[in-house]
Amino acid sequence: MKRKVALFVPCFVDQVLPQVAIDTLTVLRRVGCDVVFPEDQTCCGQPGFNTGHWEAALPCAERFVRVFSGYDCIVCPSGSCTSMVRSHYPELLASSPLRQDAIDVGQRVFEFSEFLVRVAGVSDVGASFPHSVAYHPACHATRELGIYAEPMQLLRAVRHIDLRPLPNESECCGFGGMFSAKFGMISAAMGDTKAVNLEQSGAEFVTAIDPSCLMHLSGVFGATRRKLKTIYLAGILANTAAGAAAKGASR
C-alpha cells in the first residue's frame, strides 16, 4: 500500500519558489508516496513568532494544527518551518486549547530529507546530477532538528555528483527571516562570507534543505556578480537522466 503523505508547503515556497514544492512532490511520488496538498494551509506562523508578534503567530499555528490534524505523515521542504512546528509550537501554544494537538502534530511533521531517510528508509532515489555541489547545513535543520547525515546520505547516492567540502560550513548564511530585511547590511555581509567559502570549495552549486537560505544566497550572488548557483535538495534529487539540465537551479 502506498504511504499517504501530506505536503506542508512553506508560504514563501508556495508564492515565490513553486519549483521547490514541485520537485519535492516529484521525488516523493517516485519513492512511492501518495501525496496530497491540503489546500486550506497558509503559513506556520514563524514570521510572527520570530519577530515577537506572537499575537499574529498564534492563530496561524492553531490553523496549521487544525488543517493537518487528520494526517499521519506531513512532509515539508524546509528545516526551519518543520522546526517551527516541532520545536516552537509547544511554547507558542502553551496556553492554547490546541497545545496537545500541536505537540502531536509536531511528531508527525518531517523535513523532506529526514522523511526520505528516516521514515521511508530510502537514500538512493535514482537521481543523477553531473555537477560539483557543496552542501550548506542550514541552521535550524542542523542545530534544532539534528538533521545532517540524512541529506548527505541522499547526496552521496546521486550519480555523477561531485560533492565538495565547504569550509566553515556551520556558520549561518545570514538569511534569518525578517533579520534579512531589518539588518540587510549585516545579512548581506554574512551571505558574502558564505559565498567566499563556497568559492573556496570550488563547487558550481550550493544546495541546502532550507530554500530560504538559498533564496537569500542567490540574491547575494547576483548582487556581487558571482557565478555560484543555488539548488534546493529536491531539485538535485528530481533529476534522473545524466546530463539533464538542472531545472530547479536559480542564478
Binding site: Q15, W54, H140, F179, G219
Partner: protein, 470 residues
Amino acid sequence: MSAASQEFLRKAIIKSADLDHRALIQKGMLSYDLAVAKGKLRFADWEAARNRCSAVKAEGIANLAKYLTEFEQRVIERGGHVHWAENAGQANEYVVNLARARNVKTVVKSKSMVTEEIHLASALEKIGITVWETDLGEFIVQLRNEPPYHIVTPAMHLSRRQIADLFRDKLGEDVKDADPVRLVAAARVALRRAFFSAEMGISGANFLVADSGMVAISTNEGNGRLTTSIPRIHVVVTGIEKVIPRLSDLAALWPVLATSGTGQPITTYSTLIRGPRAAGESDGPEEFHVVLVDNGRTELLANPETEEVLQCIRCGACLNICPIFRQVGGHTYGTTYPGPIGSIYTPRTAGLSEWGHLSYACSLCTACKGVCPVKIDLPKQLLITRRDFIATGNVKPAEHAGFAGFRWASADAGRFQMLGWVGRKALAVVRALGLSGTVLDPMRVWTKYRSPIALPKQSFREWWRKNGNK
C-alpha cells in the same frame, strides 16, 4: 526608533562593509575555534562538564540571598568590608568616597566588566585620581580612549601595527617591527611603575565562593595578582550573580571557563583571595572591600523566564561563535556586553524601549546555544525579549500594519492566495516600469543588498490545481 537603535544601524552599515575588519576578526575567531575544539578534547565528557557548571550556577542563582549573605559573613569575619550597591551610582559613590578618605592618588585596575558597566574609572578620574588599566588589552583600549571591543579580548580589533603606533604616540616607545615581545615589554615598563605607586587596587571577580568567603580571579598576565596584593587597599567590584555555593565547584568551573574563553586548560593565574593581610602573612592589602553590584540584575532574577541569564560566566563563547558579531564587531552594539548575551542582558537591565532592537540583531542561527558553557538558552531568551519588546508597544506603524495584514490573510487560504497574487502582479508592474528599488517597490529592503527574486508565473497552489493530480 531609539537613539541607540539608530546608532547601531549607522555603525553596522560601516562595519558590514569593512573588509579589513572582517578579515582581522575572522582570522582571530578561526584560531579561537581551533583552540577551543582542541581544548574540549581534554575533557572526557564535555557535555557532562557543561551540565555540572550549569547546575552549580543555577544553584547559586536559585539561592542567591543565602549564598551572598554566607559569603558576606565570611568576609567580615576576616576583617573585610562588604558593601551592597543597588545601582551604578551607589557602587561608584562607595569607591570614590573610600578613595577620597584614604587620600588615594593612583589606582591600578585588573580587568573587570562590571567596572566598565558602572563607569567606575571615569568616576574616579573626576576627582583627580589616575586610573591604570593593567590588563594589556584593557591598557591598549584605555590609551585609545575607547571601551573594550570584546569582554575577554578587549583589543582584538587592533593589529600589531596599530598597537605599535599607539605606543609610539602615547608612551613614546618606538617598537621596531611591531615585535609583540617588545610591545609587551614596553607596556610592562609603564605598568610596573603604576603597580608600585598605586594606593588602591580594583579588581573584579570571576566567582564569589560562599562556603569559604573567597574571591576567585582568573587572569592570564598576572596583573590580577599584582593589583590585589601590592596596593594598600584592595576593592573587589562585582555583580551579585557571581556567587557559587562551594569551593569544590571551581574544579568544574575553572577549566570550563578557560576552555570556553580561550581553549586553555585553565587560566594561567587562577587566584583565590580571602581578605586583608592577616597576622603573620607576608603580603596582601591592609584593607579589603567587596562591592556587590545589583544594577538591574534583580530584574532578571524576579522573572522565572529570565533568571537563567544570570548564570552567565562571561566567557565570551557566544560572542565568538556569533556570525553577527563576526561581521559588526563589539563596538557596534554600544553596550558593555556585546554579542548574544549582551543583546539579552542590556534590554532587560537598561530598558527594553531603548535597547530592545539588539534582540533583533540576530539571525536566530542558534550557534550560541550550543557553545554556552552554562547552557543558557540564548535563542529562546532573544525570542522572548522580542516578544516583550513588541508587547510593550515598541512597534513601528508599518510593521504593525504588516502583521495585521498577515494575520488577516493567513486566516483564510483564499485571502492568502489572493494577496500573494496581487503582490506578485504589483511587483511585476513595478519592475516593468523600472521602479525597482524606489519607495513603490515592496521588495526594496530585499533588493537593496540582493538581486531581485525571479517571479514565478504561478504559485504552487495554482500549479497544484491544474497539475496536482496528474
